[in-house]
């Protein structure tokens, strides 16, 4: 703090940026529990908007939870084996698979959704079910699970562990389930938190894929912003925050997959994982 003016100038700027991000959040929380936002908090504090949201949109909350959990199951089942294979092989085929699996991050959700609709929209039952939305969510969240597990797999010397087990007679599946999976736990946990958080908030893909019977929470939010009074939209936002904030706190705590203690390798910076929502 040699230069105090420099320091306080930057501090003031940072506090300003912070207020820009946080003040509207506080305002929407207030609006959600105010009798009449236009008149201000003096008009009284009420939970009636929250109850109204519950009456109107409870099903969107449950559907979002259902899709997030199903999405988590799919990304674990698909992403963990994929990460293991990619950690074992670095040839052109493995590289191509990695590119293919991370490509959905580089393509806007709108394009992914349109592609799904023009290809599978004709299958009525599939199109009308929530599984159609699930497909989009899995494509979008899979790279996060994969990267997070891959970060752990490449941080430790699994080859030595596995060779040891193999020399003691453990077969491939035994090694995969008894050595690889248990040692990836921190990566799977970090990936899971990201997958659930992203799935709960996904809008770009979901808006195109949803049907009137299958609305997720963000779709309901867009609906309430467009057609309900400000207080209802705010109360709904508060409900969303209440669901997402615990996930965020957990992400800050466990979001960086811990490296295995045994035989650390130089960590590769390209495997840094961050929760990124692209809506």
């Amino acid at each position: 703090m040699r230069n105090t003016r420099y320091f306080y100038g930057q501090l003031a700027f940072t506090i300003l940026v912070c207020s820009f991000l946080i003040v509207p959040v506080i305002m929407s929380v207030m609006a959600g529990i105010t009798e009449n936002f236009f008149k201000g908090i003096g008009s009284g504090v009420t939970l009636k908007w929250v109850w109204q949201v519950w009456d109107l949109y409870a099903d969107t909350i449950f559907l979002s939870m259902l899709i997030a959990i199903a999405c988590l199951a799919c990304t674990i089942a698909l992403g963990v084996p994929a990460a293991y294979v990619l950690s074992k092989r670095q040839g052109p085929v493995a590289r191509a698979i990695e590119e293919l699996l991370t490509l959905p991050l580089a393509v806007p959700g709108l394009a992914i959704a349109l592609a799904l609709i023009v290809t599978y929209g004709g299958y009525r039952d599939f199109r009308a079910s929530w599984v159609f939305i699930l497909v989009g969510h899995v494509l979008y969240t899979l790279p996060f699970m994969m990267r997070s597990v891959l970060a752990v797999l490449s941080s430790a010397d699994f080859r030595t562990l596995e060779e040891g087990a193999a020399s003691l007679g453990a077969g491939f599946w035994r090694r995969f389930f008894d050595i690889v999976i248990p040692n990836c736990r921190s990566g799977i946990l970090a990936g899971s938190l990201m997958v659930v958080t992203l799935s709960m908030g996904e809008f770009n893909i979901t808006w195109m894929l949803h049907t009137p019977e299958n609305k997720t929470l963000p779709v309901g939010l867009a609906d309430s912003y467009a057609s309900m009074r400000l207080e209802v939209g705010s109360a709904y936002t508060v409900v969303f925050l209440v669901m997402i904030v615990p996930l965020l706190i957990a992400l800050q705590k466990w979001g960086q997959p811990r490296k295995m203690r045994a035989k650390m390798r130089e960590d590769s910076p390209e495997l840094q994982t961050e929760p990124v929502s692209k809506d």
């Binding site: 940072t14 991000l21 089942a77 959700g109 494509l139 899979l142 491939f172 705010s234 965020l248 961050e274």
Partner: protein
Amino acid sequence: MPTVRFGACLGHFEASMKNRELPFLVLLALPVVIVALAFFLLPLVRLAMIAGSGEDGLSAYLAVITTPRYFESLIATTLLSAGVTFTTLAISAVSGLFLERNSFPGRDLLVSLLTFPLAFPGVVVGFMVIMLAGRQGLIGEITKFLTGDKLVFAYSMAGLFVGYIYFSIPRVILTIMAAAEKLDPALEEAARSLGASPWRVTRDVILPALKPAFIASGAIAFATAMGAFGTAFTLATNIDVLPMTIYTEFTLRANIAMAAALSIVLGVITWLALTVSRSMAGSTVAAAG
């Protein structure tokens, strides 16, 4: 002699293990590859083909450039995204460097508050912009008090600009802080002992060292702003950014070929932005976005 044989035996063992593993690895990779091909690559190829098989044929792609409505939307979106990217980088560089290089009471709180909106979907960000600059927003109230005129800009390109900055700051700040943490303090020390002013140290030592982080996080912010949909949808459906144009073509005009062509063009732009940045910044970019 016995040691040599043991070594050879181990090498052989390793090689045979690698070969014997292959079928298992293929089996493990198969489901995910099938899912990605069936639900991602194949649909994208089909989308690209539909774009070329409308009533205009392949000229649907050409129409992106020749039809003023589409071309203007493309240009506006690109300019908006570029503006958002540079503004966000500037803001985040100042605050990110400040937070990483100073410790004071309340610093951790500021960091958590700045990264709090990380998981907000675009629709929620749009609502935050309405809270700030909408008809009943804070800025409107303040300007009304100060000047008598209510300043309302949420429902326009300006609102969208503010929304995308809101959206990008948490991510970019995290990347910049992570990069600043890895800076070698000795370099700075050397520059300072050679008589460089704080400003020169920042310009000649710190900012060049952070360049990969700027390129990486900037590319992600740019690609996200290009393809984002939720914020524009919440603010106003008549803002002419490319995702809204695609949405309108698809749902209101039922011009599926044109919507497909525009989506493919948009996808190519965002993919290019991320790929070019990845090769520019070395392999340190996670192509997330």
